[in-house]
């Protein structure tokens, strides 16, 4: 597939934005897959972490439509195991923030079931990750 120049520029800008927000070098990833292998949430993801990294190298904005960054629980298993030192948890946070900063929350606080039984540590942590 051949891309038009403005599409290439848009993609480069997207990857650059993710790199800036995460402070990580997306292109350091060589697709070993250790992040995906150790991820405790991977079975719930529609694209595994290493796939997100690869798509980001191409500036593919469809990563924002995947549930990966929302299923990520910031457990840091990927980042301590990455042989290239990429903090993938930070990449996931960058993707969450890009969405949240367009004023779209990932959860509707009014619709949380059993909210009265949940401890504040769970609620605040959740709202910090899922709302802008």
């Amino acid at each position: 597939m051949e891309l038009k120049e403005d599409e290439i520029a848009k993609r480069e800008e997207f990857t650059r934005r993710v790199e800036e927000l995460s402070g990580q070098n997306i292109f350091a990833c060589y697709q070993c897959g250790r992040c995906s292998a150790g991820c405790p949430m991977v079975s719930k993801m529609d694209a595994i972490p290493s796939m997100i990294m690869r798509l980001l190298q191409f500036g593919d904005m469809r990563v924002l439509e995947k549930n990966t960054c929302w299923v990520c629980a910031s457990c840091y298993t990927c980042d301590v195991r990455c042989p290239k030192g990429i903090d993938i948890a930070k990449v996931m946070e960058a993707l969450r923030q890009i969405k949240l900063r367009t004023n779209i929350n990932n959860i509707d606080i009014g619709k949380i079931e059993g909210i009265e039984e949940l401890p504040q540590i769970a609620l605040i942590a959740n709202f910090r990750k899922n709302t802008g």
Partner: protein, 292 residues
Amino acid sequence: MDIPYFPGCSLKSNTRYFEDSAREFFAELGINLVELPEWNCCGTVYSLTTDDIMRHIASVRNLVHAQELGKKLGTNKLMTLCAMCYNTLAQVNALARSRPDDLKTANEFIDDLPDYEAQVEVVHALSFLNENVSFEKVAKLAKRKLNGLRVAPYYGCLLVRPEHVKIDDREKPALMPKLFGLLGATVVDFPYSVECCGSYHTVNMKDVVVEKTRTIIGSARENGADAIVLSCPLCEFNLDERQKDVRMKYPGFERMPVFYFTELLALAMGKKINMGAHYVSPENVLKKYGLV
């Protein structure tokens, strides 16, 4: 000895017994936990984007209070019991030390407190006990043995990751096994001790946590444990309270009590613990080992 201490929200609300047991235990060592004046939320989770300094302000404010209290008490340490508070405060502290420009921005924003000088050392109670007291001394001061109580230490994420704030080996942690081994427990090794419990997904993806809890408790059981011991109030909620939901989905699931590490320490000091505060009562297990 007085040590500046940051409680955090859980220890003052739904898990008061975590703090109560810690205070009772530390009093036996002659250590007084001095609560930070005017503390606020730690921020709960560390914000991971490079430009989100606003979300570090809560932690920086606490670090300033720790700095000022520490000057009066002659220490630069700030101790936490909650693993989540430890992690968030320690990561913000590391950021303050490594990014002076970000620290300057935070200090300029906080105009009602002295500047944070980035000299505080955030310590978790387990590493404080190891480095400043020694587990051997704790065992020597213990009033009774834990009588072989078969307990599986569960670390989860925040005491062992990320690398720069870990308090223990991140793949095979050794502090809790050593401590509870010295106190006479039988420490059970199991393959989920550093795997995430599902964390805050308990709010909007409850089933993920139900499955994790079933797996983690089930594995501890298979490896011979009668109880879990941990340090994080969110893990505690997921692994203890969520067993109710596991039972609804899997009626054959066998429940297991979950202890805060301070409860076992208080027990070893001959204290009583608040068994009614647990969802899964530890009474039968403690009776089995002659600990009540």
